[in-house]
Amino acid sequence: MIPLKRILLVEDNPNDAELTLEALGEHNLANEVTWVHDGEEALDFIFCRGPFEDRTCNDLALILLDLKLPKVDGLEVLRVVKSDQRMKLIPVVILTSSREERDLVDSYKLGVNAYVVKPVDFKEFMNAVEELGVFWALVNEPPPASGKRAR
């Protein structure tokens, strides 16, 4: 069995992070979740640089991204990820603090894959994940015709 890919949680608020980790953990999601606190740390992690130089790269199944972040904000992280040829394939789910932020055309323009409203409700999270078609990355079942899959 190949190891499950990793979920990256980018969230500056420890309470929100804890609630999200609880929601994911409660449902026995087997993926390893890495929690980083700001946009800069997120980019370092995603691109395996700085303090994350030595980690195994290209292991991300999903990025859960808050929009309001210290240093580099969520939209900027999204922009950098989506303009990189390799990284743009990683699905990004924006964590919004209200449904209102669905109005943020900006993140759509930058190619965000889905939204989940905080606090992260596991059902809503799985719905978003299903929409993305990255279910397989989380439950470790290869999708049908995965070779041809164009996300």
Binding site: N15, L19, S97, S98, E100, D103, P119
Partner: protein, 437 residues
């Protein structure tokens, strides 16, 4: 009219000609004033054009304009080009001398009395005063009082006509000065209008920027309030799951209260956000079939009321222009209110309609036979967070009607209500008609 044998004009008739010429010259001068002064940057430039025209018209050597200042002293405001040329006093000294002069001497006679005056022998006039050295010689003089807005405060003075001034000169300058006053007053009025407009614009901008700040404030407060709130609800929920029978009845009750209170606050924040968002978004106008819109709204809301009969009456809904999403929100709020406040009634009756025969507006109404409210509180009805019923009686945050009012005002309409407690309530709102089909 007497004619001589050769049928040539007599002397009397010939005398008409110079008079006609004078009139033409006067007209030309007046036209010149009206034509040239609107382009002037300063009032002084307007005055110079008029002085030059007056000098030419009368054959004067020089001229000036002056007025009484608020201290009652005399300011010479403009000296003609020819006047400055004839002046032998150094300019700086002259500029000082001509301001704040005591109002006396021959110059001021007519100014005091508000009439024109001619003095062709100033040297022997009893009112004559000594001129400072270098002052242009005054051997003949004519003054015409100027009627500014609000009264006579100034004069135009001409001097140095060799043959002396005549009544004809006086009439000419009176006419010319009327044209001068007209352009000057108009100019001052325009300036005042411009200043008032600029001030108004400044105020509008201040209000707009205050408004934007307020919107940004309420938006960010709503968002920032949300974070701790969802932590409260999130962790209460975790605590509930974590419990596994270790908590007693009372503790569980406390948690339930915390839970409900946070949910309530969540609704408040949502409503506040919707309210602030509504004022930030532009109106998206389109033609709306209100019959369809109202039936859709009823369809949405009726689902929650299946256990009781409601007698709906919908009449005369027009097709007209407006922001469909916002006006849907208005009907949703008004109909939801009607449903809410008829809940204690065994037979609820809700009428929705429109009065379309007024020339400039269409008036919509939503009437119910619900509990109603005391009209003495009617001025509170549309205020943000204002409620006329306790939340035990009827739930609500007090944002709905504030929202309705804002939407209707943004459509340039009016909204009001009438109620008889215990019997009926009618909400009215109007939309201006320009967009109706």
């Amino acid at each position: 009219m007497p004619r001589n044998a050769n049928n040539k004009p007599t002397d009397t008739e010939a005398g008409i000609e110079p008079r006609t010429e004078r009139q033409i010259a006067l007209l030309k001068a007046i036209i010149k004033v009206f034509r040239e002064t609107p382009g002037c940057e300063r009032e002084e430039d307007v005055a110079r054009i008029c002085l030059k025209a007056a000098e030419e018209l009368t054959g004067s050597a020089y001229s000036f304009i002056g007025e009484l200042n608020p201290e009652g002293l005399f300011d010479t405001t403009t000296i003609s080009e020819a006047g400055w040329k004839a002046c032998r006093i150094p300019v700086e000294e002259a500029l000082h001398l001509i301001k704040n002069m005591p109002s006396r001497g021959i110059n001021r006679i007519g100014l005091r009395e508000g009439r024109s005056w001619i003095i062709n022998d100033p040297s022997t006039h009893p009112d004559a005063t000594e001129k400072p050295p270098g002052h242009p010689p005054i051997d003949s003089f004519m003054g015409v009082a100027l009627r500014y807005v609000g009264g006579i405060t100034g004069m135009i003075a001409l001097a140095g006509k060799q043959s002396g001034y005549t009544l004809a000169d006086q009439e000419d300058i009176e006419a010319l000065s009327a044209a001068f006053m007209e352009s000057l007053n108009r100019r001052r009025a325009e300036k005042q209008v411009n200043e008032l407009n600029a001030e108004l614009n400044r105020h509008v901008q201040q209000i707009e920027s205050a408004n934007r700040e307020l919107e940004a404030f309420s938006y960010s407060v709503s968002h920032d309030l949300r974070a701790p709130l969802r932590h409260i609800t999130g962790f209460v929920e975790l605590l509930n799951k974590h419990d596994q029978g270790s908590m007693d009845e009372k503790s569980r009750h406390y948690l339930q209260v915390i839970s409900e209170a946070s949910r309530k606050m969540g609704t408040l924040i949502d409503d506040l956000l919707a309210f602030s968002r509504m004022s930030r978004t532009e109106l998206q106008k389109s033609m709306i079939d209100f019959n369809v819109l109202v039936r859709e709204v009823i369809g949405e809301l009726q689902g929650q009321e299946q256990d009781r009969p409601i007698d709906w009456e919908i009449a005369g809904m027009p097709v007209m222009e407006g922001d469909s999403a916002m006006l849907r929100q208005v009907f949703r709020n008004l109909v939801a209110n009607a449903l809410k406040f008829t809940r204690p009634r065994p037979a609820a009756r809700i009428e929705i309609g429109a009065v379309t025969d007024a020339p400039d507006e269409t008036v919509f109404y939503v009437r119910d036979n619900g509990v109603g409210f005391d009209m003495k509180y009617v001025n509170k009805l549309f205020g943000l967070f204002q409620r006329l019923h306790s939340s035990e009686e009827f739930e609500g945050t007090g944002v709905g009607l504030a929202n309705c009012q804002r939407i209707i005002h943004r459509h340039r309409g009016r909204i009001w209500a009438e109620s008889t407690p215990g019997s009926s309530t009618t909400f009215w709102f109007s939309l201006p008609k320009q967009g109706e089909v």
